[in-house]
Symmetry: C2
Subunit: 346 residues, 2 copies
Amino acid sequence: MPASIRDVASHAGVSLGTVSNAINRPEVLAPGTLRRVQKSIDELGFIPNASARKLRAGRTRVVGLMVPDISNPFFTDLAKGVSEAALAGGYVVILCNTDESAEKEQQYLDVLTAQNVEGILVTPARDSIRALARVAEKGIRLVLVDRTSQGLAACSVAFNDLYGGALAIDHLYENGHRKVILLTGSENIPQVAERNRGLREAMNKFPTHDQVELSEIRIDSMTTFASYEAVKLRLESSFDFTGIICGNDLIALGAIRALREKNISIPGDVSVVGYDDIDFAKNAWVPLTSISQPAFELGYAAAELIISECESPERHVHQKIEFQPRLIVRESTGPVALKASKLMIS
Amino acid sequence: MPASIRDVASHAGVSLGTVSNAINRPEVLAPGTLRRVQKSIDELGFIPNASARKLRAGRTRVVGLMVPDISNPFFTDLAKGVSEAALAGGYVVILCNTDESAEKEQQYLDVLTAQNVEGILVTPARDSIRALARVAEKGIRLVLVDRTSQGLAACSVAFNDLYGGALAIDHLYENGHRKVILLTGSENIPQVAERNRGLREAMNKFPTHDQVELSEIRIDSMTTFASYEAVKLRLESSFDFTGIICGNDLIALGAIRALREKNISIPGDVSVVGYDDIDFAKNAWVPLTSISQPAFELGYAAAELIISECESPERHVHQKIEFQPRLIVRESTGPVALKASKLMIS
DNA sequence: TCTCAGGATTGAACCGTTTTAATCTTGTGC
DNA sequence: GCACAAGATTAAAACGGTTCAATCCTGAGA
């Protein structure tokens, strides 16, 4: 039903090859011919069939994006960045939400190769390196997002999680906090592990006579609600800390809620640091101090990387782009207060 | 580089057509042959090339999803529902974030037709009906999401916004609120207009001697921050209301923040009703009473609809699926209090 | 043993592009 | 007026599948 290149050719009174040239290499055509063909294209509303195009030229101009959880605003922003960069480059992105399931990830990998995507932007779950390697063998280019390329010949864009972890603890340390709780996610998630490592390494730099006492609560699902429950439970035993460092902002929001229910003031009694700096953090009841990771930019950069690799593979060389996280100080943190010290005695 | 159907054929010692049959109509093959071909397929890791497939058979198994703002958790959930249903049906979804820009919408529409998607799930911006009609002519099936099909021959899934609006005002009315503020988005957005209409129609049913006094504040961008600013400004003039109805939850969160900064208690002094029941609403500092719209289910239903249309177009008949919103009462609303009445006098 | 029906398999055309080699025009210099 | 180069255009092959008409088997019935 839609107009084909043949329709355009006969409408313009030229051969089919000429129309193709008009589209892909306009400079080889005589100006008059080009104009005539253009006119026919417009009149017929011709849009080249991408499947046929791909079949012949091996180019689909489609990339896949695989994220573990699109409901997390961090990944939402990332996706926005990716699709904006893609659109600008004439590409299109297939969204794959893996729900952190290795099975879904494999399923999507198959679908994406069947669709002949030119590249995949992926935040890999635990250990899908092998599956990814198999995909790479098929000639599909990879960019690892928010994760560095472990032995995989691929580009990567990531944040310096080591540094981010340090940023959080340093901030609390400078404000006098010496008893801190770490609300972390599972260390199976590489980013989480890295941040925690960075945090501990930073602690080693504090003078031995003035150390921070750190205790850890693991929150497996990294959601607001799970965090709320965990902190509520923790507060029932004893309240002996002045700072909380959270694995992400959702966790921080849950913690804040639990604290306020107990009438614990923020930052009067307890300072809270989040991670990701999602939009909701900024507008939370107590605006949240957080580690900002510009997800949109990360996504944009990742998409640009893969597009440039697709456009000129010969002169492409794999690269690692690292973004530095930044500490955004808002009202949820402050200097440790006398009042808090008193509370700690109880 | 990847194995083609020919490779499989020679590997299995059969003709190319037989391999195709093994994939698409296994029942016509002799069991032994089928097994042999299957084995070759597995060994070579053959995945049929979707482009070639489409070219001949006219099927891409790709659908597009166009949403105005993927950062809004409502649309995020929707997208999740869509892609889950798609995956289950062997389809794949291309995500298009239009940022409410008609230009981007057109751009994406072109890309999607070039990609030969079989269908598009779209939440149309203002008046893109004409552009959509043009797409439909090309044989691309449409499902309107969260919007009914105005004269367009297409399926639609939507919420009963009229009812949702009524739900909100009725709830406040029953709790004794008679002075209410409506924090609405632009009425150019059809859903917003519908909700407001439903709200007003419900008000007409109240006895004439006991009416609600409604004043309206328009918040153009429907974000938390915009709402926060608007409400803060409003509170500076006079505080003479006991209830607030919000165009969505983001707006409600902003309003709550502004109220609390003024030490206005919720729901003691003012009750707040949101719309959408996003996840953050439930875990907000004051858990938010909201109108629940199961976005995930909506997306899932929409995707199923379009897939079934694609699979058997002949016996398909366009349908309208309407979901009923539900009122979820949480702590942000309550009966109007004496204290509040007193305040109103000032 | 021969015929024939029916299922299993094959071969070739075709989908809508890109691309390359071949052909057709022009215009220039002698 | 002719040969030839350069530029413009075209024809045909190829991409990797699907599909359908044609062919090949096999076994049953005569």
